[in-house]
Symmetry: D2
Subunit: 319 residues, 4 copies
């Protein structure tokens, strides 16, 4: 097992088989520092233009810069990439959040593009102060009776994925069957994320850590921070899945990302059902009845081009 320290030379805004930033073997560990979603580093500095992979289109094109892609030698189409999140260390004591025109769960539904005749919402910018010792973030609320709010931090990786199915390339603003910008708080320290491999080498890339976030990421941004991330990456041969899966201390889970929202829930539920039947010896009908009584659902994001829902099944019910 090798530990790699990845120093990004280029930040990508698409998930695709770009020239690998690093080649590793199954079982290796990778440590890398990520920018925040808006492209600022631990010192609040933006990435130099020369380090940004150029893409067309003016709107939101530089959201969620990712480090990578990491080429995993053993990974081939039909495998599963097990990404164990060993550590997420926040590297800045300020988190930014924003309200943006044509973005967010209650405004236009396509990022950067109005779906409304109405006027867009105002652009507003917020700074959260982070106390990394006490693990809390605070926001001044000068116009509210409350005055200021203090929120517990619960960091997770907002954007992590591989090269998509069918030879597609997708923006790092979009989640899908390749992972991507799922913004699911379950993708946190201690969890193992399983990503289906669609292209030989997998091409893992990631960034966009959130220090804290409510369900749905309603306003379109969370507490956006840079971080140092430690991952251990393993290839599970021939363990094909259709959608990202996840495992933590208490649950196994599946993540569905599409539109409309109801179909996220369907994809996640069906992927979980398939997992129970294929790997845990459940009869399909019995699994479906049991799932209906014990599954918990968590809404990841409802703002991106695709929404995300996590369906979780308690490990207590695994044989």
């Amino acid at each position: 097992m090798t530990i790699h320290h990845l120093e990004p030379q280029r930040y990508y805004y698409t998930f695709a088989p770009h020239p690998p930033a690093l080649r590793i073997r199954s079982g290796d560990m990778v440590i890398a520092e990520t920018m925040d979603a808006l492209g600022y580093d631990a010192h609040g500095q933006p990435a130099p233009q020369a380090m940004k992979h150029r893409v067309s289109g003016t709107s939101l094109r530089e959201s969620n810069p990712t480090v990578g892609p990491i080429y995993v030698e053993e990974a081939a189409e039909g495998d599963l990439l097990a990404v164990q999140i060993q550590r997420i260390r926040l590297t800045r004591d300020v988190a930014t959040s924003a309200q943006s025109a044509h973005f967010g769960s209650l405004t236009g539904e396509v990022p950067g593009l109005a779906l409304l005749y109405n006027d867009p919402v105002a652009d507003l910018h917020y700074e959260w102060q982070l106390d990394l010792e006490r693990n809390v973030g605070t926001l001044e609320l000068p116009n509210s009776r409350l005055g200021r709010a203090e929120v517990s931090l619960a960091p997770f990786i907002g954007t992590i994925g591989v090269a998509p199915r069918y030879g597609r390339a997708e923006t790092t603003l979009t989640p899908g069957e390749y992972g991507g910008n799922m913004d699911c708080a379950d993708v946190c320290e201690g969890a193992t994320l399983y990503l289906p491999v669609w292209a030989d080498g997998a091409y893992l890339a990631y960034g966009d850590v959130h220090a804290a976030q409510g369900d749905g990421e309603l306003i379109g941004t969370a507490l956006e921070v840079p971080a140092e991330i430690t991952l251990q990456i393993e290839v599970l041969k021939g363990r094909a899945a259709q959608w990202p899966r996840l495992e933590n201390q208490t649950d196994i889970a599946a993540i569905g990302s599409t539109r409309p929202l109801m179909n996220c829930l369907r994809l996640a539920s069906l992927e979980l059902l398939a997992w129970l039947v294929d790997d845990y010896g459940f009869d399909r009908a019995e699994a479906w009845q049991l799932m209906s009584q014990v599954v918990t659902l968590r809404v990841g994001n409802v703002v991106d081009p695709n929404y995300s829902v996590v369906a979780r099944f308690p490990k207590a019910y695994l044989p």
Copy 2:
């Protein structure tokens, strides 16, 4: 304050200003026994045909029989009805659940009516044994490696509502701005549900207790049981709301019920936002930023004619 023991003479399948089964005053308490969603009582007996309010249409027309309606003397349009759920006592040690053709989150989307060219799913019936001492339900899974599952009970009222807005009458299978079949697990013992009053007297009715249920009620039914329910009912004058609200030890919450699912989430979020601004001195923009970082969302049902989502805001952030 009077305690009323309500003995149902008729079970209704619509929320509407039916002839009241009981007239009470604000602050009174009501104790009543409800049938399960399928119309069976504590002894597993169906309600006599004569006690069922007749409605047209053959499909699902006798789901969720409700007791009531209760006419609350002080309640007028524009008020809020505070329904404190003091006790839900299960009255049977068997819960039923089912998988039904043209019903459930992964089948046809309109209850009882296919939206698919595909064949419907098989009708399957399940019996859960309840141990009311240990507060668990168990299901035999003869075809699965697990063999049997034991689930903790967490009873709640699946269907509770008032006469709808605009003079409508709605089935007890449908949730909406009047409450109804929301199937939200938060509507449990210890919680206070706030229902907007749309018709003088409010016309509160309820039934359909679930002993346990996963998020979304994916298969379309939960652990369906009869129960004895104790409510204290109070009128809050002129405290208009647009959608049901809820309060418990830790959270205030709002419930949105419509289609598509995304709009449930929007309705619930906007109702919560209005509450924070109107009653708790929040600036609208600041409340929206804070909500985005601390709100939790819970999917009630994704099977009924309307879906339901609960948006919850921690009381810790109320001034």
Copy 3:
């Protein structure tokens, strides 16, 4: 066959088994004058308050006043009511149209209730001058290079329906399995609309004529006019349908009304498929293949609580 001249004493804002304004026999003809959608008559006068059926809720509660209900003696649950539209005579030379806050296809999705954080659109009012001889409507466009637009009139009944299924009452702003505010331009002179009967007597009611309208009624209103409508009404015994059907010179059609929009299309397509199989001797799979190549779809409204889509099949392919 009797010809009835119906003089409305009361305008209803819900489809429900209200006290009948008229009782007729199958085959009878009814002539009645309807108000426009906003409640104004041929002389631009509003209905007296005393003639309006009172309903709760402040928003849009007086849209689409209907005349009726008409009780048809032979009509029983399970029958089909054939409503032949013999004549729609416009009775005013001014049509009104409007842009309203929280209404319209590109604004909030629930009439009268925001689903947005954004500001609502401005309220704007338009007057179209109608030339009933030349059958055109003209609108001044003072701020556009075009200056004025002249549109051909193609009047149809926007709102027509019976008492709904399951004992529900629905607002005249909402379309559904009972007809209602479908705003489908195919419901015009010369067409026969078939409505499923859910309550003995059917309880037919109607109003809200549009002098012209684009597909989808995008802004939320059309050229709103009062009219004198002549209908011949016949009961087809035991010819159960699930959704409104329609027939004209060239096509048979079915109308689905629900949310989301995709499900309107599904309901309409499945109802049409059932019609072809049940009445015209089509094999289901073959009908589905043929439908896929020859059906035309027309979007009725995409602004009401439920949307409407018409699926049309050319009579040329009926055996």
Copy 4:
């Protein structure tokens, strides 16, 4: 002006900046033969495996092979590519159509992936005989009373697009802001399609001609045929659009492709509105009122990963 005869060496299943098959100048004409959607040529022969661009994922990965991409020298990001469809000549007298598991408007919603617990529909294959002289297609219906159906042909290009925005690559099964598999019958001989240019050179590619199709392509396939297509291609500098636009004898139109269906309609309507305001001197509010009364909507496909809707505005109302 040069006329190019393009002989495909490779068929692509993604829209992306692949190595160009041809480089042309603005104003040039291109004649090329396309395969049918399933990859069969004028002689019913499949493309050799070596000519197929390999992509991952097993399902539907070889649908809609496209010829191209064509690199247009003058085309740069922010331009509009005007594609005049001069001729569509069908090259086979048999069209194929199919009903496929997990595909079609009334089955699972994600092509090739179930969104349902139900069993998938049966796979069925149909052969339509084409009489290219009489311009009709006929299908035997052995199990239906009708016996056989004869349909008028109205050929159009099902799949045509450029390299997508934001550096994405998309499958030829998916429509979007780059065009793609829109399956809009308006993209026919005599029409000019305007595609926004997102990458220098545009990278135009196309295929998948339909000899005839009903609105929505309900079953998921039309009368699938190979064809020889003649296009004249021109670059309009700096005429940025957000979504494909179209012009024919009677209408200008815009095409929106996304999910859910309602948002297709919104995108198309807003793009049309922008066009009227930007190029034709309409006041925005007046244009919106007029559009609402005269726009016609046509549903392209409701089966692909994204749906498509065309919004059309009569040229009669252009100043």
